[in-house]
Assembly symmetry: C2
Homo-oligomer: 572 residues x 2
Amino acid sequence: MKFLRIDLTTRTVNVEDVPEHYAGLGGRGLTSALINREVPAKCDALGPENKLIVAPGIFTGTPLVSTSRISIGAKSPLTGGIKESNAGGSVGTALGKLGITAIVLEGQAPAGALYNLVIDAECNATLEDAAEYKGMRTYALAEKLLARYGGNNGVLCVGPAGEYRMASASIQTTDVDGHPCRAAGRGGLGAVMGSKGVKAIVVSVKGKNPDAIADRTAFMAAAKVFAKAVRDSSFSGQMLPAFGTAGLVAPVNKAGAFPCYNATQGVFENWEKISGQTMAEVIKKRGGKVGHRGCSQCIIQCSNQYVDAKGKYVTSSLEYETIWSMGGMTGIDDLDTIAKLDFLADDIGLDTINTGVAIAVAMDAGHCKFGDGQAAIALMEEIAAGTEFGKILGNGPESVGKHLNHARIPVAKHQSIAAYDPRAMQGNGVTYATSPMGADHTAGNLLGSYLSGALDPLSPDGQVEASREAQILIASLDCTGLCMFASVVIRGDEARAAFVALMHAKTGVAFEEADIRTMGVDVLKAELEFNRKAGFTKDDDRLADFFYKEALPPHDKVFAVRDDDIEKTFEF
Amino acid sequence: MKFLRIDLTTRTVNVEDVPEHYAGLGGRGLTSALINREVPAKCDALGPENKLIVAPGIFTGTPLVSTSRISIGAKSPLTGGIKESNAGGSVGTALGKLGITAIVLEGQAPAGALYNLVIDAECNATLEDAAEYKGMRTYALAEKLLARYGGNNGVLCVGPAGEYRMASASIQTTDVDGHPCRAAGRGGLGAVMGSKGVKAIVVSVKGKNPDAIADRTAFMAAAKVFAKAVRDSSFSGQMLPAFGTAGLVAPVNKAGAFPCYNATQGVFENWEKISGQTMAEVIKKRGGKVGHRGCSQCIIQCSNQYVDAKGKYVTSSLEYETIWSMGGMTGIDDLDTIAKLDFLADDIGLDTINTGVAIAVAMDAGHCKFGDGQAAIALMEEIAAGTEFGKILGNGPESVGKHLNHARIPVAKHQSIAAYDPRAMQGNGVTYATSPMGADHTAGNLLGSYLSGALDPLSPDGQVEASREAQILIASLDCTGLCMFASVVIRGDEARAAFVALMHAKTGVAFEEADIRTMGVDVLKAELEFNRKAGFTKDDDRLADFFYKEALPPHDKVFAVRDDDIEKTFEF
């Protein structure tokens, strides 16, 4: 129950009790409250007034399964609004075991200075000069840092893209194997970390001072029920361990909602070459890993280790969103190339989504050809080298579109959409348009309702309500540190009751079922307030123009949810 | 009294009577009314829905002196709002004599296609294939077009920057000598012309069908009074013919309001090397021209022809704003280099202000050194060649600042300020912040009030009111085609009475003194309405953040007009 406040301007570290107004908050609930309260909404996202907050969830560090997520928050240099980006790996649990509620990076180091923040098992935090790591890519960096500080430690770090302060720069986190392959990818938070002058945060996994659990017996009982629900779910218990998130390629493509060739087609003709089934077969045949555990306390094991034809590690984990952004969107249908692009994104420290879509826009504008994997790899290396065009690419699809005078830029609030086309899954379009995060598939994804037939994906009817409830629920769950793939079981009555019991047992504060929704609404209200102060209006809650005008084959629909309906999304 | 509507999508030319709702409008009054009525405010400024309007003023084509101005309007790709940019030269009078109230370019030519619009003495307008002129710079282009269509014709054209659709691209117009050295520079209107697929508009000067003057006798009598006032003014009658606008270097620098080294100093230590006095001496010694007539019907002759040491033409006209943007802001104190940069801007088709400031931001960010003239020339050539960094430069200072992670970007509504620092002339800051045009020195310049001592430039008091009235007056005068330097005499009672008489005599419609203000307010209301529809809020009526935080030497003031006062600017 403590904050580590690191002032980079003065290079001082302060340990403080959690201020009363943040009591009981965790994860996204904490990052968003803190940003809304402490960061001037109109500040330069890359200046000293912005703050970068790393907060494990309420359950992170407890024995509950799949609770390794950390929320990272700041004002986004990409969207200009508030941002929370969360990631798995090993850092969250490490922070939880140290009893750290949040790390807050404030101020700004002098130009050119670079530091690592090192937190030991007794929670002593030190800023160490990181000049020797300057410009280093994340795999080499993680290897060196783990060799220096201990192989099991957790690392949060930026690659060259973060040091360049590119708007697509990610913060990479190490998985349980020590690979910096998990990412808080979206919103350019790596650029904020880079702007602070911080290259890496190394966190001891040997902490023995987690927050108290108010009623441990009740907690353990409910945790058992919840874990069983996760194991019993066909999605988290069967599909994900078998194919990983890549298992979504087939159903989304079949639904005509897999935007490809820069969102000019909804079905990728070569989808079978990049599907989860194909990926799993290739990996198994070559001796790689599927059903791999990437995050601490994970029982789902949706991760994989993709290997080359000789069985050598290429990347982990090859995910649906990356297969889409680096594959479908670019027309690249070769899994080996996509895996290489995924590795490069992790190594350079880039959001695979924003970067793949930036490449797709460049291809659509004629800069290179759709499907040209070697060109895409060369573009990634341009970003790493910080060439002029590399910088433009590293700032994302809107930057590329403007530079090349190309109007088809699939974004909302300057951030690229994800792998569900808003014209073929209209409610995901509502989420893209309205989420305070900018276009984001994790902010309120209605895929489940579409695949189950509960909601017609092509009709504008009912989408606003569905998006609203999905956004509220995920905002709530993002406070807990639970992995999204585990937390979906909360839709079942038994698991939901267990969740309520877990919240009560952990905090000792009364928590009822209705509080799930209240917690989510409170998060969204803080985020919306920040964005309003930053100057956002209802006009910002729109998709890129072409989604309203260019019909997407094969359904030949445009995005048809009316503006006045969209504006009702946050009528809580 | 007719519109030429050119649809580039269908390549058709329509001549139509002036629609009733535009009756009596001219210049900026007409361009802004038409954009507000016909252009979807949220459209892509570089897409087919935008329109580019060329409109001579109400007096243009009459015998009144100094009435050669044309207004060019469109939604701006730089500011995202409405834009009117006006220019002198020979085209305005030519259009006036043809009786053309407006040319309206609509739609968009197919990608890669390029046309010239050629208007003959009988007002026949033809779109001619311009493939052979593709990529051509403006001096070579104008020479070829005038050789082909007749040496006295007027030409409006874009250079490579307009074809690249850069946000700093200008539309150049020929002066009376046939040099394409006059510019509708601001707001990236050259990019709009380029996006339409139009390289040049050639206008015959042999038209003999100007609009009727309702009461010619009264008009000629009033015109004589007005012309005398212009001749008798010390500003337009003495200072401008002697030193050109460059005569302002000395007094603005003395006032500590000459922003230099990217607006980090208010006094340029080497100002005497680039002053109007020095410039006039150099030009005269080398056999160039001062007191040169650049525009049709001009009696002021503020223009000059700058020549090199061998007496060879370098550029025309070297103006105060360019001496500042390419000189003071960049720390370049060599007039020959500044003249060369001015020529390059005209030749490539670039706003000298936005481009000079873009170079200054690049210098401030360490891309090259302040004062390095050869580096600046090399950067101009990068823009012309369309290199990656050249494109960034060609999109203006904000594009450069973002690319180089440099926060000191002197803009309002994404457009660079002009040569009066808002911290040392606070009311000009109000105009920069609030003008629907973005930062613009011609939208309501209080320099006269400061130099005369009528208003304290350093105090925030009274600036909002002064800016409001100046913005209203200039909006009104921008409807008439009068040169700003002639129209300033309207502050005198006799000239103002003559102006009212001229309006009445020209149109035959009742016009009283109070109508001067009404005409200006109507223009601003249309512009503000468009910007509101485009999504602008009061938050857009602000200067770049650093003007509020970094004090400007030698007065060491920040911009201190309060936001809530700024918000009263348009309380008409």
